[in-house]
């Protein structure tokens, strides 16, 4: 509970319209898109300028109030849940694109800018901002940086970290820190943008970013490949990469997901297929066509039946169906748990096999789809959180999925972050020494541990 005086001080900084502490207001910030138990903050604030941000941090530091930063709250690992109450700081009020530089190919944006808006702004200028997390219509750039968000285009274009040139943030005492800049080369001081990527709100309050944009590819081609055996589909992916071809996207959908999408929407997805690959190649027309022929051969050699999207309409339909994967699955059972264990690309077939075995062993429904091209699968567990017995088996399945990924030289999370849902597994992947190093780093920067405490077990 906050003291009355403290609440008054918050109001003095923000005005009463941007500061809430009634139960029916703060409860709306007790959750994010992960499936954890809700915890309410004591106060929610929506600063409209950097000065207010700095003052809020100062007040929290002085009063030892935990401070959790929140954009759109689409986090899938519980990172924005205020585990020990305190203050939730919304970045939604800091939502301006400050500069879009067509000559030097970068954009300067505030933390609350919505990913899709930046992508649209780039497109208007004939440019391209590739990271496209599924939540991009609502997710904020601040959240994308804090979680190192990926998306469908990771294979060729990388993820958010590959576009971050600079960052401005406030440290745990409210001082402004400037990292990186507007130049392509930048070797001045520590690589602070690199430090802040995936920092999940533990190291500072990020308010502004400089992001790289690139020329838009001039031509693209999409194809859908149908398989009778999902393992053959996974082997195709490994072979495409091994042949040094880099499509913009290779997505995979398993039999269960295909069925779910077919039930949810009218789609061209073939009934009875064990797996589908959706591939998009883009770039210079000549290269695209050449790569296309090579991919065709590879697909055929793994018994895939290729269907080409002949026009924009057909192509849009295929990708629309892919975007419907998660929601189509989510309609089947009350609770959806979306995992994102990731493995090196050559291990995708082995990972897929492991997921199938785990699903059978624990009698748990798992639909798998995902970004096969970058090894980032999304085993999606369908369950009902009210069924305690089933939830126990779900928990065991998740454990085993993580262990399988680690055994295959993979990682706990490709793009959803650790938050607190995966905090318990962190040491298993990184070792005690690394976690200790992270702890020292965190506590050195934030000695009172007010910035998003308890996340990543720190």
């Amino acid at each position: 509970m906050l003291k009355k005086n403290t609440i008054r001080e918050f109001r003095e900084i923000l005005g009463s319209n941007n500061c809430w502490n009634r139960p029916e207001d703060v409860i709306c910030y007790s959750y994010d898109a992960a499936y954890e138990e809700p915890v309410s903050p004591d106060i929610v604030v929506k600063p409209g300028n950097y000065n207010q941000v700095s003052k809020i941090i100062g007040l929290c530091a002085e009063e030892n109030i935990p401070l959790v930063i929140r954009g759109a709250g689409t986090n899938l690992s519980g990172g924005t849940v205020p585990l020990s109450g305190g203050c939730v700081l919304l970045t939604t009020g800091l939502n301006r694109i400050l500069e879009f530089n067509k000559e030097d190919l970068y954009a300067v944006v505030q933390a609350g800018v919505i990913t899709a808006e930046l992508a649209l702004e780039a497109e208007k200028n004939g440019l391209f901002y590739p990271p496209d997390p599924a939540s991009m219509k609502v997710s904020t750039i601040g959240g994308n940086v804090a979680e190192n968000a990926g998306g469908l285009r990771g294979l060729k274009y990388g993820v958010t970290k590959d576009y971050l040139m600079g960052v401005r943030f406030y440290d745990a005492e409210g001082n402004l820190i400037i990292g990186g800049g507007k130049t392509v080369k930048h070797a001045t001081g520590f690589n602070l943008p690199g430090l802040m990527i995936s920092s999940e709100g533990l190291l500072g309050v990020m308010v502004e970013f400089i992001l790289r944009v690139i020329p838009k590819p001039e031509y693209s081609k999409s194809l859908m490949v149908v398989y009778n055996d999902i393992i053959r589909a996974c082997e195709t992916v490994s072979e495409i990469i091994a042949s040094r071809i880099f499509p913009a996207t290779i997505e995979i959908l398993d039999n269960f997901t295909i069925k779910a999408v077919r039930e949810a929407i009218k789609t061209e997805f073939p009934a009875g297929a064990d797996a589908l690959l959706l591939i998009e190649i883009d770039g210079h027309p000549e290269v695209v066509n050449k790569d296309f022929d090579r991919i065709l051969k590879i697909c055929n050699s793994f018994n895939g039946t290729v269907r080409v999207a002949n026009n924009k309409d057909e192509r849009d339909k295929v990708w629309e169906a892919r975007r419907m994967a998660l929601s189509s699955l989510s309609r089947l059972r009350p609770t959806v748990i979306l995992e994102d264990a990731t493995v090196p690309r050559s291990k995708v077939p082995a990972m897929m096999k492991a997921i199938q075995e785990i699903s059978k062993k624990h009698d748990i429904t798992i639909g798998t789809f995902g970004h096969a091209g970058d090894g980032n699968l999304h085993p999606t567990i369908l369950t009902d959180k009210r069924d305690r017995d089933e939830m126990k088996r779900v928990k065991m399945s998740i454990d085993e999925i993580f262990h399988a990924a680690l055994k295959l030289d993979g990682t706990l999370t490709g793009e959803h972050g650790i938050g607190f849902l995966k905090a318990g597994y962190l040491e298993g992947e990184l070792g005690a020494g690394t976690v200790n190093f992270m702890k020292k780093l965190k506590h050195g920067i934030d000695s009172k541990n007010i910035l998003n405490p308890h996340k990543m077990n720190l």
Partner: protein, 414 residues
């Protein structure tokens, strides 16, 4: 209190489908304005959940948040998990109204208007004169009342004579090929009487005879949004009984919210099947009568799609305008809700107007002469905003222009 919690917990099966993904933020007009969670469907769902899961003691406190919703339905249409948000919110409002009761005068007024439409009709000349005497003209046929709390609104006045008192009964078409029932709804009956006239006359011109009710009963939606679900059910039942007694295949409407209230939630709340197909006049002209004509309307025009317009025909009105009127059609970039939401605009006028003003600004910038819409509520609210923004754009239903054309003999019957 235990009863309330039990009743809310009955919503759990619908609510648990919400995976809190937050997609609704992208489409919620109020979230995009406020950028805070209580404005958006996900927040409201979390609030209901927190009451029946015992995390929020004072259940009544969430009612304000639940009522802060235009019920435009965008969250439902775009929900990946198919959560029936409007259904959840209307039910929760009805349950919570048992603790936070409607003020007595509101309940009596609501009951009076719904139970005694004939008496409201009798009061019309009086209301009309009062409003006229108590306001000044502000253009676009709107009036600005002198008296608080209405003095910041530009009101489209009630007419001296209601639509049904002029057109009630059977309106016979000479070259009759079909008979339909026209359901005007309150806004057309009392305010936009010209829409009603245009609907009946146009239908007659195309050989469709029209029954107009002797008594224009409310569809009940205002009762539902204010949480009086019993009164709402009663109105839907009365209307369904009336439709059955006429037995027409089609019930024509010119108010999408009436249509939504009767069809979608009406059927659900009364567990009855609607006896006739309720259909918007433009859809009827296009799909059933298949009318085909082009008439001159030499203006810069645009269209505002009402939220409750039949979503399987959402691009029909726009095409209708482009196909039938030779005008300069300019689509609007802002496709948001106008913000009216009926009772929402009474309780949260300032927020409601903010949304309409954003639309008015674009209409002004693009110098649109005529904005078409298909809902009297939108028309009323947008007129208010346009006058406030000092914008000369007039707001019409396409049927009005079509009827003008008929009078001057333009469209051919076929």
């Amino acid at each position: 209190m235990a009863g309330i919690i039990y009743e809310l917990s009955q919503l759990e099966d619908s609510i648990i489908r919400c995976m809190k993904c937050g997609t609704c933020q992208a489409v919620c007009p109020l979230y995009r304005k406020d950028l805070v969670e209580p404005s958006v469907a996900r927040g409201k769902i979390a609030l209901i959940e927190s009451v029946y899961e015992g995390r929020l003691e004072k259940a009544g406190d969430i009612l304000n948040h639940l009522e802060y919703c235009v019920l435009c339905g965008r969250c439902k249409q775009n929900c990946p998990s198919n959560v029936k948000t409007d259904e959840i919110f209307l039910k929760a409002r009805a349950v919570l109204k048992k603790i936070k009761k409607m003020p007595g005068w509101q309940k009596s007024l609501l009951g009076f208007v719904m139970d005694h439409p004939e008496r409201v009709t009798k009061l019309l000349p009086f209301l009309h004169v009062c409003l006229k005497a108590g306001s000044r003209r502000v253009g676009n046929n709107a009036l600005r009342p002198f008296m608080l709390p209405m003095s910041d609104r530009n009101v489209v006045s009630v007419k001296k004579e209601s639509f049904v008192s002029k057109y009630k009964g059977f309106n016979y078409a000479e070259n009759e090929r079909m008979r339909v029932l026209y359901y005007p709804g309150c806004s057309v009956n009392y305010i936009y009487t010209s829409w009603g006239k245009a609907v009946v006359e146009t239908l007659k011109y195309f050989g469709v005879s029209v029954y107009v009710p002797e008594i224009a009963r409310c569809c009940g939606i205002p009762a539902a949004t204010m949480g009086d679900i019993e009164l709402y059910r009663k109105m839907v039942n009365l209307n369904f009984d009336y439709f059955s007694s006429i037995g027409a295949d089609y019930v024509i409407t010119s108010c999408p919210t009436c249509e939504y209230g009767l069809k979608e939630i009406g059927e659900r709340e009364t567990k009855r099947k609607i006896p006739s197909r309720v259909i918007d006049i433009l859809i009827f002209l296009d799909e059933v009568l298949k009318i085909d004509f082009t008439m001159p309307f030499d203006k810069k025009i645009s269209f505002h799609l009402p939220c409750h317009y039949d979503c399987s025909y959402s691009d029909l009105p726009e095409k209708f305008l482009q196909r039938h009127f030779s005008s300069n059609y300019i689509p609007l970039k802002n496709t948001d809700c106008c913000g009216f939401g009926g009772t929402f605009s009474l309780k949260y006028y300032r927020d409601s107007k903010e949304l309409a003003l954003a639309k008015a600004e674009e209409l002004g910038d693009k110098k649109i002469d005529t904005l078409f819409t298909a809902c009297p509520g939108c028309a009323m609210h947008l007129t208010d905003a346009l006058v406030s923004a000092g914008c000369k754009t007039e707001v019409l239903n396409p049927i009005e222009v079509l009827y003008e054309g008929i009078k001057s003999g333009v469209p051919n019957r076929n």
